[in-house]
C-alpha cells in the first residue's frame, strides 16, 4: 500500500462546492416545481438564480482546470474493462474479489465512473445549464430569434434533468462506499490522500 495525494485541492473544493450547489439548486428548484413551501416561490426563485450563477462560475473554473491540468483525460471511457466493472458490482463485490481495475494517480476513475461522470459532464449538466439559461432569459427569446418556441419543453427538460441529477447523486453517495473501505473514498475526497495499492504489480 502506498499513501498518495489522489485529489488535488481545487478538485476537492470543486467537488464539494458542486455537491452543495446541486443540493441547494435541487431544494430551491423543487420548491418552485412542487410548491413545497420550503422557501416560498418568490424566495426560491431568487435563491435558485443566485445558486445557478454560482454554479455556472464554478463550471467555468472547472473546465479551465480540467484542460490546463490535463485531468480531462480521466474521463476517457475504457470500453474494454467496462463489462468487468459491471460484473464486479453485480457479483465480485459480494465474493470479496478485488476491484478489476486498479486505482492510480494517473487513472483514478474506474470505467463506470468514467462513463457516469462523462455523461454528467457532457449531457446532464450542459442540458441543465442550457435549459436553465433559456428559462431565465425567457423574455429575450425574441432577440435570439426563437420567440416561437414554447416554454413547456424547456421547462420539462430542465425538470427531468434535475431529477436525473438527484438520482445520480444518491447512487453516487452509495457507490462511494464501495471503495477500499466504506469510508476510504469519502476521506480521500476530504483530505486528498488515499492508500492505493502499489502501482507495481504485487503478487
Amino acid at each position: 500500500m502506498k499513501r498518495v495525494k489522489i485529489y488535488k485541492r481545487f478538485e476537492r473544493f470543486w467537488h464539494w462546492m458542486q455537491a452543495l450547489l446541486v443540493i441547494l439548486l435541487a431544494l430551491t428548484g423543487f420548491d418552485i416545481h412542487f410548491d413545497w413551501g420550503l422557501f416560498g416561490f418568490e424566495k426560491a426563485v431568487m435563491l435558485h438564480k443566485v445558486f445557478a450563477w454560482a454554479f455556472v462560475i464554478l463550471i467555468a473554473f472547472a473546465i479551465f482546470w480540467h484542460f490546463t491540468t490535463g485531468e480531462w483525460k480521466q474521463y476517457i471511457p475504457m470500453p474494454s474493462k467496462t463489462f468487468a466493472m459491471v460484473r464486479f458490482y453485480l457479483v465480485g463485490i459480494f465474493r470479496g474479489q478485488p476491484h478489476p481495475v486498479k486505482k492510480t494517480e494517473l487513472s483514478k476513475l474506474n470505467p463506470l465512473q468514467r462513463l457516469a461522470y462523462l455523461g454528467l459532464k457532457i449531457l446532464v449538466i450542459p442540458v441543465l445549464v442550457t435549459t436553465g439559461l433559456l428559462y431565465y432569459f425567457y423574455n429575450d427569446w425574441e432577440a435570439l430569434g426563437i420567440e416561437s418556441w414554447p416554454l413547456a419543453p424547456i421547462a420539462l427538460i430542465h425538470t427531468f434533468a434535475a431529477f436525473a441529477m438527484i438520482a445520480f447523486m444518491f447512487a453516487h453517495i452509495y457507490l462511494s462506499t464501495t471503495g477500499h473501505t466504506p469510508l476510504s473514498n469519502f476521506k480521500a475526497m476530504i483530505t486528498g490522500w488515499e492508500d492505493l495499492e502499489h502501482e507495481a504489480p504485487t503478487g
Partner: protein, 596 residues
C-alpha cells in the same frame, strides 16, 4: 509541471473571489439601480429614497389650481334659472364652443365616435349604448329611456324624438358642479328636480317618502369647475342601476378613497382626479368605448405630447420595478392590474349574478346581503348575488371587447361548460350543463402579442330571449310613454313588456320568450392598491391558484407534466432502492475475514 508554480490556494481563492464579486455586484446593483433618465416616474422617486418602500414619499398631492375666473361674478349666472337648459344657455354665452364639442363625444351621442367609421365598415352599424348594445343588467336602452338617460349628459332624452342638435340640451352642470348638490333625478330623462315643477321636492323611490329637494340652480351655476371624482361618479359609480352594481371597481368610496382602496386617487395621497388618466381634449375624454381599446400603445408618454395617458406605462414606463427585473419581464403577458388590483369590490359590494326569471314574486322577502344595504332580491328585477372584497377572475384581454348586438343570432343549445372552462360557483350559480350567451367576450389568448392577463369581474345571469328567432330580447321595463302600461314594472307580464320593447326597438319578436344564461366581462382597471398590497408570486405560481383556468401556456409553479414527474421520481426512488438493496446484499454476503 507548470501547475506547481500556482499557489495551492489559488483555485478556491479565485472562485471565492469571483463569487464574492458576483454577490457584491448584485447587491450594489439592487441598492443603487441607476435611474433611467427617460423615466421620471413614481418609482424613480422611490429609488431616490435610501430606504425604498413608500413610492409616495417625496411626491406632493395635487392641489387643484385656482381658476382665473370667479363664476359668482358673471352677470349671466345671476338669475333664477327655471331649468337646466336655461343654465346651459347662460354657459354658452361665454363658452361658445362647449356644446358643439360635447355633441361629438360619446357622453352625448352614446355612440363610440372614434369607432364609428371602423365599426360601420366592420359591422355595418354604429355602436354604443344608444345603438345595438345589449347587456345583462337592465338589458337595453330602447323604450326605457327616461330611467337610463338620467345618466345622459343632457336634458330630456325621454324617447326617440330627442333633439340631439339642440345645444341648450347639453347638461354642463352634471360634470362641472362643485357644490356636490347637483343631482339628476333617477327617472327624469336627465333633468334634476326643478322648483317650478316640484316646489316641495319629488319623491324617490316611489312610496319611500324620501324627497329629492328642488335645486338652487343659480348657486350651482355660479360654482363650477373642472370635473372632480364626484362629478364623474354621479353616473359612473351607479352603472347598472345602483351603486357598485356594474363594475366591481367603482363605487361611491372612490369619491374620497383611502390609499388602500386607490393609491392614485387617495384623498390623503396623490389625489388624482379621473381626468388625470382619462385625459381630456375639447371635451373628448380618453377611455375604452366597447370594441375600441382605450389605448393602442403601452409606452412612456409625455403629457402634452401624447393625449392619452391611460396605459400605466404612460407614467410608470415599461420597467417599473427597478430592483426586480423578473417582475418587469412579466409585463409582456401580465397586466399591471393583475397584480396591483388584488381583490375587487374591496369596500362596497358589486353584483355578480342577476336572474331576471325570478322577478315578479311579490311574496318573496328580499334578504339583506351586506350591512351596506344590498339585498338578494327585488320584485322588479329578480335575484342577485352580491360579493365584496373577492378574488377576481382572470382573462386574456387585448383592450378590445367583442359584443353580441341586438338582433344577433345566439346559440341556445351548446352547453356552457363545452364553450368555457371557467370555474363557477363562487360568484354565480351558472349551470355549465345549460347554454349561455357570451354577450361580450375577449376573443384573444396567449398567442396574441397585445393580449395580457387581466383581472375581470364577470357578470352572469339569466335574461329573456326569443327561442324562435334566437335573439336576446329587449323588455320594456320602465313605465313611460304611451305604452307605459305594458312595461314590466307596471304589468309584471314579460310577454307584454317584450312585445312593447321589441316593437319600440323595431326588432322582430316571435311572441315566445324563454330564459337563457348570459355572461359579460368587465375588466378591472380602477382601485389600484399600494405597492405593498400587490400580489405575491405564489398567488398565481401554484397549482389551483388564481390563474388555474387560463390555458395555452406553461407557468412555473402551476404547471407540471405527470409523465416527467413520475419518471423523475421513479428514477430517484430506484437509485435509493437499488443502493439499499446492494448495500444490504454486501452486508449479508460479506466474505468472512475480509477487511471490507
Amino acid at each position: 509541471m507548470t501547475a506547481r508554480r500556482i499557489p495551492r490556494f489559488a483555485w478556491p481563492a479565485a472562485f471565492l473571489l469571483a463569487l464574492a464579486g458576483l454577490v457584491t455586484t448584485l447587491v450594489i446593483k439592487a441598492r443603487t439601480a441607476a435611474p433611467d433618465p427617460a423615466a421620471p416616474t413614481v418609482t424613480l422617486i422611490a429609488q431616490d429614497q435610501p430606504t425604498g418602500g413608500d413610492p409616495l414619499r417625496g411626491l406632493r398631492p395635487i392641489i387643484p389650481a385656482k381658476p382665473t375666473a370667479d363664476h359668482t361674478m358673471f352677470e349671466a349666472l345671476k338669475q333664477d334659472f327655471p331649468d337646466g337648459p336655461a343654465v346651459t344657455a347662460a354657459c354658452l354665452t361665454c363658452h361658445t364652443e362647449a356644446s358643439r364639442q360635447i355633441m361629438k363625444t360619446a357622453h352625448w351621442t352614446w355612440i363610440c365616435p372614434r369607432a364609428k367609421k371602423k365599426l360601420e365598415e366592420e359591422h355595418h352599424i354604429a355602436i354604443g349604448k344608444a345603438e345595438h348594445i345589449i347587456n345583462n343588467f337592465c338589458v337595453a336602452l330602447p323604450s326605457n329611456e327616461p330611467r337610463c338617460t338620467s345618466c345622459h349628459a343632457g336634458y330630456g332624452w325621454k324617447d326617440k324624438t330627442f333633439d340631439f342638435s339642440d345645444e341648450t340640451l347639453v347638461d354642463c352642470l352634471v360634470c362641472h358642479d362643485q357644490t356636490g348638490q347637483y343631482k339628476k333625478f333617477p327617472t327624469g330623462a336627465g333633468h334634476p328636480v326643478y322648483k317650478k315643477d316640484f316646489p316641495d321636492g319629488r319623491e324617490w323611490p316611489k312610496g319611500s317618502g324620501k324627497k329629492w329637494p328642488p335645486l338652487d340652480l343659480s348657486h350651482i351655476a355660479q360654482h363650477v369647475g373642472p370635473p372632480t371624482r364626484t362629478n364623474c361618479g354621479t353616473c359612473h359609480f351607479f352603472g347598472g342601476g345602483g351603486e357598485g352594481v356594474k363594475h366591481g371597481d367603482m363605487d361611491v368610496k372612490l369619491a374620497n378613497p383611502h390609499r388602500s382602496l386607490d393609491v392614485h386617487m387617495a384623498a390623503d395621497g396623490m389625489n388624482f382626479t379621473c381626468t388625470q388618466c382619462h385625459t381630456t381634449k375639447e371635451h373628448f375624454i380618453a377611455g375604452r368605448c366597447f370594441e375600441v381599446p382605450a389605448y393602442e400603445d403601452r409606452q412612456f408618454a409625455l403629457r402634452g405630447v401624447e393625449t392619452n395617458l391611460l396605459a400605466c406605462e404612460a407614467c410608470h414606463t415599461t420597467d417599473p420595478h427597478p430592483n426586480y427585473p423578473k417582475m418587469n419581464d412579466h409585463a409582456d403577458k401580465v397586466s399591471c392590474q393583475a397584480c396591483h388590483i388584488p381583490t375587487m369590490a374591496r369596500e362596497k359590494a358589486t353584483k355578480t349574478w342577476w336572474d331576471w326569471s325570478k322577478a315578479g314574486d311579490k311574496k318573496r322577502k328580499p334578504q339583506p346581503v351586506f350591512d351596506t344595504g344590498e339585498k338578494d332580491y327585488d320584485v322588479k328585477k329578480g335575484e342577485f348575488i352580491w360579493v365584496r372584497n373577492v378574488v377576481p377572475e382572470y382573462v386574456w384581454y387585448n383592450g378590445a371587447i367583442k359584443h353580441t348586438f341586438m338582433g344577433d343570432k345566439i346559440d341556445d343549445h351548446t352547453a356552457h361548460g363545452d364553450v368555457c372552462a371557467q370555474a363557477h360557483g363562487d360568484y354565480d350559480i351558472m349551470d355549465p350543463a345549460k347554454p349561455a350567451v357570451l354577450i361580450n367576450r375577449v376573443q384573444t389568448g396567449y398567442d396574441d402579442p397585445k393580449a395580457r392577463i387581466w383581472p375581470a369581474k364577470i357578470m352572469r345571469g339569466i335574461q329573456p330571449y326569443d327561442p324562435v328567432n334566437k335573439t336576446l330580447v329587449i323588455p320594456k321595463l320602465f313605465p313611460s310613454g304611451p305604452d307605459a302600461a305594458e312595461a314590466y314594472w307596471k304589468s309584471y307580464d314579460w310577454d307584454r313588456s317584450i312585445k312593447a320593447g321589441m316593437a319600440y326597438a323595431d326588432l322582430p319578436y316571435s311572441g315566445e320568450y324563454d330564459w337563457i344564461q348570459t355572461e359579460m366581462i368587465w375588466p378591472l382597471k380602477h382601485t389600484v392598491a399600494p405597492m405593498d398590497a400587490a400580489l405575491a408570486c405564489s398567488e398565481c405560481h401554484q397549482p389551483d391558484a388564481r390563474l388555474a383556468t387560463l390555458t395555452g401556456f406553461y407557468m412555473p409553479g402551476r404547471d407540471s407534466n405527470a409523465i416527467v414527474d413520475t419518471i423523475g421520481i421513479a428514477l430517484i426512488i430506484a437509485a435509493i432502492a437499488l443502493s439499499l438493496l446492494h448495500g444490504l446484499a454486501r452486508i449479508v454476503f460479506r466474505p468472512k475475514g475480509n477487511a471490507a
